[in-house]
Structure formats: structure tokens, C-alpha cells
């Protein structure tokens, strides 16, 4: 419980990231640099300053597992009544594997469900540390083409796809999520390929299409960075529904949003 790690936010009453009512703990630091990332302040491990609503705000703090759990367990009865619990997000929680594992373990000791949102870009050893305490893995598969993947996220996808297969084979409940980004992966062909891959993973039953949104745009300004997707409009609901139909051909349960 004295294990420390670096987080930048705790968000309660989250209902789109795993079953039931959940609290998301956002860990700081990521190996990818996705152009559309709606939490750009999550990417650097270092503690940063960001301007929020005209005021400077310190992003990132070092906390112990005990401190995080005290906050998380304030909603303990909501989790128990809804089958919810703790979700680790980021950043990439696999960048702090010991801390992440300790948080998940503490959650299991408190009898609540656990989940992570992760892009699986790190060595499988990091993932393995978490698996004994993990109920649901919400894994991003952003693109099947390694080159395009690298172009938009900074890294190839080979390891992600390997890890996906390993996690699936480990028997952990795995849900595949696709951030659907115009100019990157929003053609029916892109979605079709990802959905087929997801369907090929043993035990995977679900895929979520997460439509691109611009809610993170102001944060780029707040960090003094340019927003690479400036001018790109979110897709219409009708278009998303058409992609949903494409995804359904894989035979998986499909939904828009988490």
C-alpha cells in the first residue's frame, strides 16, 4: 500500500469504461503520441504546468496506493451495487506496472471489479504483472497497418497485436476498442480489418467504436502545443452507424461508445 506512482486525475461516476459505476484513475506517462489524444497532459511522465481556464495548473502528483484507494473506496457501495469498480487509464498504465498492479490488487482485496484501458504497447512482462488482479482489459487496437500506425501514434503496432493474442489466450476478459479518427482509420475497410482481427482473438466477444471528438483541443493550447487534427470535424451519427454495421459483420457484439 506504500507503493507510489504518478497520476494526474481521479474521475468518479464513470459509466463508460467497464461495467457498472466506476472510478477511473489516470496514470501519467505514455509511450504513444497519438495525434488525436484527448488527454495530451497524460503523455509526459514529468509533472507539467497546463493553463486551464486562464489559470496555471500543476498536472501530475505522486501518490501512494493507500492514498488512491482511500479516494476510490469512497464510492465502494456504488461499485458493489452496480458491479462496478476501479478502472486504470492514462497515459498508459503499463508504464508503471508495479504501481498499477498494486492498485488493482488493493481493489480486488476490497472486493470490487477491476479494469484497465491500455494500448498494450509495452513488453508482455508488464502486462503479466497485472493479470492476476485484472477482471477486464479494455484494449485499444487503432489500426492494422504498422506503417500508418507509426505515422499517427509514433509506434508500430506489431507488439500490440502480439500482446492482444497473448492476453486473449490468458483467459482475461478482453474487450477491443477502436478510437475512430477521420483521416486515420475511419474507412469501412479499416474498421473491417480491425473487427476481423478482434474476432480472431480467442474469447473476445465485444468491440467498441469510440467516435473522434475534440474535447481535448483546448488542452493542447494550455500546454503550448499545436493540435495536429485542427479543422477535422467529428463524424455524423449516421456515418458512425454505418461503421457499426461494418464491424458487426465480424460476428462480435458491437457498440458505439464505451
Amino acid at each position: 500500500m506504500r507503493q507510489t506512482g504518478r497520476i494526474f486525475d481521479i474521475q468518479r461516476y464513470s459509466i463508460h469504461d467497464g461495467p457498472g459505476i466506476r472510478t477511473i484513475v489516470f496514470l501519467k506517462g505514455c509511450v504513444l503520441r497519438c495525434r488525436w489524444c484527448c488527454n495530451p497532459e497524460s503523455q509526459e511522465y514529468d509533472i507539467q504546468e497546463m493553463v486551464v481556464a486562464g489559470k496555471k495548473k500543476i498536472i501530475g502528483r505522486d501518490v501512494t496506493v493507500a492514498e488512491v484507494m482511500e479516494e476510490v473506496m469512497k464510492d465502494g457501495d456504488y461499485y458493489r451495487n452496480s458491479g462496478g469498480g476501479l478502472t486504470l487509464s492514462g497515459g498508459e498504465c503499463l508504464c508503471q506496472p508495479d504501481f498499477a498492479a498494486a492498485l488493482l490488487r488493493a481493489a480486488k482485496e476490497n472486493g470490487i471489479s477491476t479494469a484497465i484501458e491500455s494500448a498494450a504497447t509495452l513488453p508482455y512482462e508488464n502486462i503479466e504483472k497485472l493479470l492476476p488482479y485484472l477482471d477486464t482489459y479494455l484494449m485499444d487496437i487503432k489500426h492494422m497497418d504498422p506503417v500508418k500506425h507509426e505515422q499517427f501514434t509514433g509506434k508500430r503496432n506489431d507488439r500490440i497485436l502480439e500482446n492482444a493474442m497473448k492476453v486473449a489466450k490468458s483467459g482475461t476478459h478482453l474487450i477491443i476498442r477502436v478510437p475512430v479518427i477521420p483521416t486515420f482509420n475511419n474507412t469501412p475497410e479499416d474498421i473491417d480489418k480491425i473487427a476481423r482481427f478482434a474476432a480472431s482473438l480467442p474469447g473476445v466477444e465485444e468491440i467498441h467504436l469510440l467516435p473522434y471528438h475534440r474535447l481535448g483541443q483546448d488542452k493542447y493550447t494550455g500546454l503550448g502545443r499545436d493540435y495536429a487534427l485542427d479543422g477535422i470535424e467529428p463524424m455524423s451519427r449516421e456515418y458512425m452507424l454505418s461503421l457499426l454495421e461494418v464491424a458487426k459483420r465480424s460476428g462480435l457484439r458491437c457498440q458505439i461508445g464505451g
Binding site: R12, Y13, H16, K74, S82
Partner: protein, 842 residues
């Protein structure tokens, strides 16, 4: 599951009735005031109860009646849909003073014809020195009157209007008919022992009951005649509908209801005519799904009604509930904004033996609110540990429409809260809700809920000014705060200011109570409340079995945050002094003087001049004003100092974020109101009990409160309900609910109010609904008493402000009730928008 929650289609008739509703503009009519006055002029020698019954008889015999197109349930108080009558016997001066502005005011405008003004002026002449409000003023202690003038509390509701706020025995009228009640009264007269000390008064009461019931029967027969006459010139389906209406009105409410249709019509006449007898609002149908169910079930089994035809009748009643209207004075209209009559109708819950009694009608009542989308009735649902999930889903489907209904009430808190007031378990289990959020036992209670608004910020201000305002002592001297050396000393001074202010309020409320007993005993209402027959007394005279007075305190969040700031910054961190806080409040934290601040300062200086024997002329006042304004030009350093101070206050923990230290302090602050209050008694033999809710008065009464140490600026809205102050809850709905549940709701047996705004995205799909239900049930398992939701996006509300015509039908939850958004004043609209939206974007 022994009930059906599946949807039922809305009929064309309901759509047409709704169209007519939306195209009607509220208007004031004069007939009732004229008939009342005519009668009163001829009955001056008679006892008051008899006069009331004769006036009621005269009004019901003469008031114009109308059957609107497409109506199946009839009985309209005004010729115009959504019109209102006036009630000069309670008060009238305000309306005459507002004749020229009532049509154009922002909150709840009413049209009024020139001819109506003339007729009302003529009728009102008679009422000079005869109203309940004048008598109440006469009863009031001068110190209580002064406290009202200083806006410590606002007892305007019953000061100027009838009381209402009860649930009568509708079920008895359905079961025995008014003829059964007349029979009881006749038996009462027959068994009078003439020599007994109260025999003369009893006889008058029973006679007044008989006269009133016969007046109602006669009124129903007028409708039967009218329907027959209209049938003569109608054709086809409408002709048979009118003939049916005639047949129904010929039978009920005089005789027992033979069918579901008759039960609906009988219910409606009672509901409507209680509101013609007096101008009281919050006359609440209560457990409608329970007392109507036997009639529905019988007809359904016999094939007389279908689910669809019964639903249409319910929908018709729902529209009638919105047809009734009431014009309040401009200030009260802001406090009760949205044309609401607060007719609270509650479904589900337990019976007296503790079994769940959710039935088909529970669901159909929810369906009716979906079909009509109107603010009335104030639909509520009782929730307990055994409430079936299916009815919760149905309720949340209504919540999801964004209409702000239903309100959810927690049996697990309310039943013990009522038992703590001496009500037996079986009766407590039968509770319903009055008006906004006030629990009570139906048919047995005169709760005097809503007796006054008590602004908890005002005693806080008086703590800093040693009880003085405008140069006079308003409450009591509790010492110079700048000399206080511990937080306990400050808190003790606040508690004394509270106790004194509460006593002053009790005096004012009891004065009004005496005035109603003397000038407004209401025999029709009283014959439908248990206890009155036995005692031979009207409700207003203490006839009911259970009697309470329930004034509502509000501002807990602000006071808790404010005192917490003083505790931390002055006595723990020692960053600021008490003098800094006192000055900051006087300087409005450097954000400029409001008109309110300037007025107080000018009054204070003038009062001192007067003491010195100086004449107060307009010139003197102007000079004083100019010097006050000049003295408040602050140096840039000072302004900077205040900016820093506001930042330091902002950085402190705030109520609403699930932080035990400040939340449990808020619990204690709430006790400064709830505990002293319950030691007081009312003239009807009952006690005072606290409510914790502001209706919508947190906005207008915020304008009457200066800056407070929580960083709230002068004139800004006060926190809504028992929820966190606007925008200060930053950790989402569970944290806010957890904080709110840390207040002791059980002691606030006159009701607590928790408004929660949700973004529609949080309620998407079956999963959204399930999580929402879990959220609600968990709040209740933590002993929250009530919660209601606004589910509408900020963007929608902003757009509605810009394009009101597009949003004529947009209903939002204001505070314990729902209102059409575009009819609310701009400031209240802004307040609703500023309440934190609990959004989960992605």
C-alpha cells in the same frame, strides 16, 4: 411481477388538448371575487365558518362554467384555460398595486383585461381591514415584523394566501359519495347534546359542512345540465361523450363512484373545488395509484375499460391539473416560479403492513406524465429497498425525457422520520408528499408545510454586525466579532443569532396561524380531514389529527463553507483576521457595491443622524449616498488583497466533494436550524418541524443577502436545496450525493431537497438507466431523503434562453417541482444553467 409497465400510445384527443393548452395565455378573471364579496356583504352577523360555507355555495352556484372541446373530465375554474381567480379575503392590495405590471413581469405573467381590473377594484373595496393578512399583521410582534422587513425570513406564502398543503380523503368521496359525508354531519347534529359547552359551535360546523357538500353537488349538476344542453347541438361521437359526461356528473361526487370514469370525475371535482374554496396551493392528490386502483381493476376485469381508455382518462386529469392556475404577488412569483400549484401525486411504495403496492396505475401515472410532458402533477415515486426494478426503469425513462419528473422519495428515511414525530408505524407507511418535498399522513394532517423561507445567511451576516443592520438592532447583540479569539466563540454567536431569528419567525408564523383560524376556517376541506368531525373544528382551528408547522431553512452549503473558511483562515492558518472578513463582507470583496449594500449603508448613516436629532431630507440622503459611494472607492492594493483572499477561500475544501471534515461540519450547521426549531409549538396543538429546501427562493432571497465569507458575492444566488453551492462540487455526482447524505435528513421531517443535474449522455441505453438506478438507490441507502434530476444539456438550455419560442414545451426541474423553462425569470434560468452538470462526455 403483477403489474405492467409497457408503453401505451397517446391518443389524438390528448394531442389536441395539449395544443389548446400551449396556445392559452394565463389570464386573471373576476367572477369568484365578485360572488364572494356579494355573499360576504349579506352575512356579516354570522359565524365565520357559516359565512365561508355560504360564500362557497354562492360562488359555486354563480361562477361561469365551461366544457372545453375534447374534454372527458370536466370542471374548470376559469373560462380561459390556465386562467386564475382571485382571493381578496386573504389579501388583495398587492394585486391592485401590480395591475399594470402583472402582464409584463418576468416571473409568471398574467393577462388582465381593463374591465376585470375595474370589477376587481370594486369587489376589493369591501375587503379593506378584513383580510387574513391584515389580521396576521395585527397579531405579529413588532420585533417579528421588523425581522421580516430585514428579510431574515419570508412568511409571505400564508401571509397573503390560503394554506392548502394537505391531502384530503379523496377515497372517502369515491367510496361513500358526498352524501355519505352529509349523512355523517346530519348524524352529528342529531346527536348534539344542546347543553354541552361546544354544542353551538359544533352545530355551525356541521351545518357548514352540509351546505358546502351540497354546493359541490349542485356545481356538478350544473355541469350535467350544460353537457346535456351541449349534446343537443352536437353530433356523432362528441354527442355521446357529452351525454356520458352528463350522466357521470349527475351521479358523482354526490353518490359513490360506480366506475373508473366516475372515480376520475369525482376525484377531479374534489381537487378543483378545494382550490376554489381557498387559494392554498400544494393541494396534493397523494397516493392516487392506490385509491383509484380498485375502480380501475374492477372495470378492467369487467371489460368496461381497456388500458388504453383508462390511460386517456388519466391523461385528461393530468391536463386539468395544469389548467388550474394561481397569480401570486411579484416577489412570491419569483420564489415559486413556473405557475406551479405543486399538486403532488405519488406512486408506489408500501402499504400499512409494509408490502410493496406498485400496480398498473403506478406505471400508467408515469405514462401520463410522458404523454402530457407538463409540470403538473408534481409526480413523485416512493422508493424503498423492496421497490421492483421494473417500476424504477419506467420512472427513469420519464426522468430521461428531461422533464424533471418524477421526484424520488426514500421510504427508509421518511417512515422513521415521521415515527420520530409520534406517528404510528402503520400510518407512517401510508405517507405521501405534499407540494415540493413535504411528507405527511394523508387525510389526517394539517402540516402547514412551506410556512416560511428562513435564510440561514442572514443570521451569519448579523453575527458580523453584532445583530445590527441599518442602524437598528434586529436580533440581539452577540459581541464584536473582531474581538473574538476562538472559532468556537464565533460559532456560538452564530447559533445565538440563529435561535433568536428562529423565535422571531415562529412568532410571525403563529400570528398568521391565528389569523387563518379566525378569518379563514374552511368547512369543505375540513370535512375531508380526519379529526375535524370528532372535534367539531375546521382544519385551521386545529381540527386535524396531526398538526405541524414547517418553515424551510436554506443556505446550509454557503453557511458551512463560510464558517469553515473563517475557522481555517482566521483561527488555524491565521492568514486573515476577523476584521479582514468583516471588512471584506462590507466591501463585497472589492467587487463593487451592490444597490443592496448601498441601501444598508445609507440607512445606517441616516439612522445615526436621526439619533443625533438631525432632519432626514432627500438632500441629506443624497449627500450620505454620495459619501458612502466615495468611501467605498478601494485602493488597488486593497482590491488585490481581496483577490488573494477570494483565491485562498476558493482553495479550501468545500461542502459537496465528499470530504468528511467539511461535510460533517455542514451536518452540524444544519442542526443550528433543525434542532432549535423543533422546540417550538403552534396554536393548533402541534410542533414546528424543519424543512431544508428553498423551493426557487434561493435566487430572489440571494439578492437580499450581502457578501458572505465563503466568497459568495453580495446578491448572488444561495445554494439550492441541501446540495452544494453552485459550481463548488467538482468530483461528480457520487461525491456530491455522498456529501449531501452526510446531512441528517431524518430530523428534517418537513422534507429535504436535492437537485441533481445530469447530462443526457449519462442515461443512454439500458446500461445508463441501470447505473442511474444504482446511483439513486445508493444515495438512498446512505439515508438521502429525496432526489430529483434535470436531464438536459447546457447547450439546450442556453439555446432556449436565446430562442424561447422554440422551447415553449421545455420543462425543467426548478426545486421540488417542474416548470416550463421559458416562463422562468432570466436569473433563475441562469441559476439552473450554472448548477454543475454531471456530465460524462466520453
Amino acid at each position: 411481477m403483477n403489474f405492467d409497465t409497457s408503453p401505451i400510445a397517446r391518443t389524438k384527443r390528448i394531442e389536441r388538448l395539449l395544443d389548446a393548452f400551449y396556445s392559452a395565455k394565463p389570464e386573471i378573471e373576476a367572477a369568484r371575487a365578485e360572488l364572494l364579496t356579494e355573499s360576504y356583504k349579506t352575512t356579516e352577523s354570522m359565524p365565520e365558518v357559516e359565512r365561508k360555507s355560504r360564500a362557497f355555495e354562492h360562488i359555486l352556484a354563480g361562477i361561469p362554467i365551461i366544457i372545453r372541446d375534447d374534454e372527458l373530465i370536466v370542471g374548470s375554474t376559469t373560462l380561459q384555460m390556465r386562467g386564475c381567480q382571485t382571493y381578496p379575503e386573504f389579501s388583495y392590495e398587492w394585486l391592485e398595486a401590480e395591475f399594470d405590471t402583472v402582464a409584463t413581469r418576468l416571473a409568471d405573467p398574467f393577462n388582465i383585461k381593463d374591465d376585470t381590473k375595474k370589477r376587481l377594484k370594486e369587489a376589493n373595496k369591501y375587503w379593506k381591514n378584513k383580510t387574513t393578512s391584515e389580521l396576521a399583521t395585527a397579531y405579529m410582534d413588532p420585533r417579528a415584523l421588523r425581522a421580516i422587513n430585514h428579510n431574515l425570513f419570508t412568511p409571505g406564502n400564508y401571509f397573503y394566501n390560503g394554506i392548502g398543503h394537505l391531502t384530503v380523503k379523496y377515497w372517502e368521496v369515491l367510496c361513500t359519495g358526498l352524501e355519505g359525508i352529509i349523512k355523517r354531519a346530519e348524524d352529528g347534529i342529531a346527536s348534539l347534546c344542546v347543553g354541552k359547552e361546544d354544542a353551538c359551535k359544533r352545530r355551525i360546523f356541521y351545518e357548514a359542512v352540509i351546505r358546502s357538500c351540497k354546493a359541490v353537488i349542485n356545481y356538478a349538476h350544473r355541469y350535467a345540465d350544460l353537457a346535456e344542453k351541449m349534446a343537443g347541438s352536437a353530433s356523432g361521437e362528441r354527442r355521446s361523450e357529452l351525454l356520458k359526461i352528463a350522466e357521470v356528473c349527475r351521479n358523482v361526487p354526490e353518490k359513490p363512484a360506480k366506475s373508473f370514469y366516475e372515480a376520475c370525475q369525482s376525484f377531479w371535482f374534489v381537487q378543483q373545488l378545494l382550490q376554489i374554496e381557498s387559494s392554498g396551493h400544494s393541494i396534493s392528490p397523494g397516493r392516487f395509484d392506490q385509491y383509484m386502483y380498485p375502480y380501475y381493476k374492477k372495470d378492467l376485469d369487467a371489460g368496461i375499460v381497456t388500458r388504453e381508455s383508462a390511460q386517456e382518462l388519466l391523461d385528461c386529469i393530468w391536463i386539468k391539473l395544469n389548467d388550474l392556475n394561481k397569480c401570486r404577488d411579484a416577489a412570491s412569483a419569483e420564489g415559486f416560479a413556473g405557475y406551479s400549484l405543486f399538486q403532488n401525486l405519488i406512486v408506489s411504495g408500501q402499504d400499512k403492513n409494509g408490502r410493496d403496492v406498485t400496480n398498473d396505475l403506478s406505471s400508467m401515472c408515469i405514462e401520463a406524465s410522458m404523454h402530457t410532458g407538463l409540470p403538473m402533477p408534481s409526480l413523485s415515486i416512493r422508493v424503498w429497498n423492496g421497490t421492483p426494478h421494473e417500476i424504477m426503469v419506467k420512472a427513469v425513462e420519464l426522468t430521461r425525457t428531461g422533464i424533471g419528473l418524477p421526484a424520488y422519495y426514500n421510504d427508509e428515511v421518511i417512515i422513521p422520520a415521521l415515527m420520530n414525530r409520534g406517528i404510528p408505524l402503520e400510518e407512517a407507511r401510508e405517507y405521501n408528499i405534499i407540494g415540493c418535498v413535504e411528507p405527511q399522513v394523508p387525510g389526517k394532517t394539517d402540516g402547514w408545510h412551506d410556512a416560511a423561507f428562513f435564510n440561514m445567511l442572514r443570521p451569519l451576516e448579523l453575527t458580523f454586525t453584532n445583530g445590527y443592520e441599518d442602524g437598528e438592532l434586529v436580533t440581539l447583540e452577540t459581541g464584536d466579532v473582531t474581538k473574538m479569539t476562538s472559532f468556537e466563540e464565533v460559532y456560538e454567536a452564530y447559533k445565538k443569532q440563529m435561535t433568536t431569528s428562529i423565535a422571531l419567525m415562529v412568532n410571525a408564523i403563529n400570528a398568521i396561524d391565528y389569523a387563518h383560524a379566525q378569518r379563514s376556517p374552511l368547512p369543505f376541506e375540513s370535512c375531508l380531514i380526519d379529526g375535524c368531525f370528532e372535534k367539531g373544528l375546521c382544519v385551521e382551528e386545529g381540527g386535524a389529527i396531526y398538526n405541524f408547522s414547517g418553515p424551510q431553512g436554506f443556505g446550509i452549503a454557503n453557511v458551512a463553507d463560510a464558517l469553515f473558511a473563517v475557522k481555517k483562515l482566521v483561527f488555524e492558518q491565521k492568514k486573515y483576521t476577523m476584521a479582514d472578513f468583516k471588512q471584506a463582507m462590507a466591501d463585497n470583496f472589492g467587487k463593487g457595491l451592490t444597490a443592496l449594500d448601498a441601501e444598508h449603508m445609507v440607512k445606517a448613516v441616516c439612522a445615526n443622524l436621526k439619533v443625533d436629532g438631525k432632519p432626514i431630507t432627500p438632500e441629506v440622503v443624497r449627500t450620505v449616498y454620495e459619501s458612502v459611494v466615495a468611501s467605498k472607492k478601494l485602493s488597488p492594493d486593497r482590491i488585490k488583497f481581496y483577490e488573494q483572499m477570494l483565491e485562498d477561500i476558493e482553495a479550501l475544501p468545500k461542502y459537496g466533494n465528499d470530504i468528511d471534515e467539511v461535510d460533517y461540519f455542514a451536518r452540524d450547521v444544519a442542526y443550528t436550524y433543525t434542532k432549535p426549531l423543533e422546540t417550538f409549538k403552534n396554536p393548533r396543538g402541534g410542533i414546528f418541524q424543519a424543512g431544508l429546501y428553498p423551493v426557487s427562493a434561493n435566487v430572489p432571497l440571494g439578492k437580499q443577502a450581502g457578501a458572505t465569507p465563503d466568497g459568495r458575492l453580495s446578491g448572488q444566488p444561495i445554494a439550492d436545496g441541501i446540495g452544494p453551492a453552485q459550481g463548488r462540487d467538482k468530483l461528480g455526482p457520487t461525491a456530491a450525493a455522498n456529501s449531501t447524505a452526510k446531512i441528517d435528513h431524518m430530523i428534517a421531517s418537513n422534507g429535504t431537497l436535492y437537485n441533481q443535474k445530469f447530462h443526457p449522455s449519462a442515461l443512454v441505453g439500458a446500461k445508463g438507466i441501470d447505473n442511474f438506478i444504482t446511483y439513486l438507490r445508493t444515495y438512498f441507502s446512505r439515508k438521502g431523503m429525496h432526489v430529483q434530476f434535470n436531464v438536459v444539456s447546457r447547450e439546450t438550455l442556453l439555446d432556449a434562453q436565446k430562442n424561447p419560442d422554440k422551447y415553449k414545451t421545455l420543462v425543467v426541474r426548478v426545486a421540488g417541482y417542474s416548470a416550463l423553462f421559458t416562463t422562468l425569470s432570466r436569473s433563475l434560468q441562469d441559476d439552473i444553467i450554472s448548477r454543475t452538470t454531471q456530465a460524462n462526455t466520453f
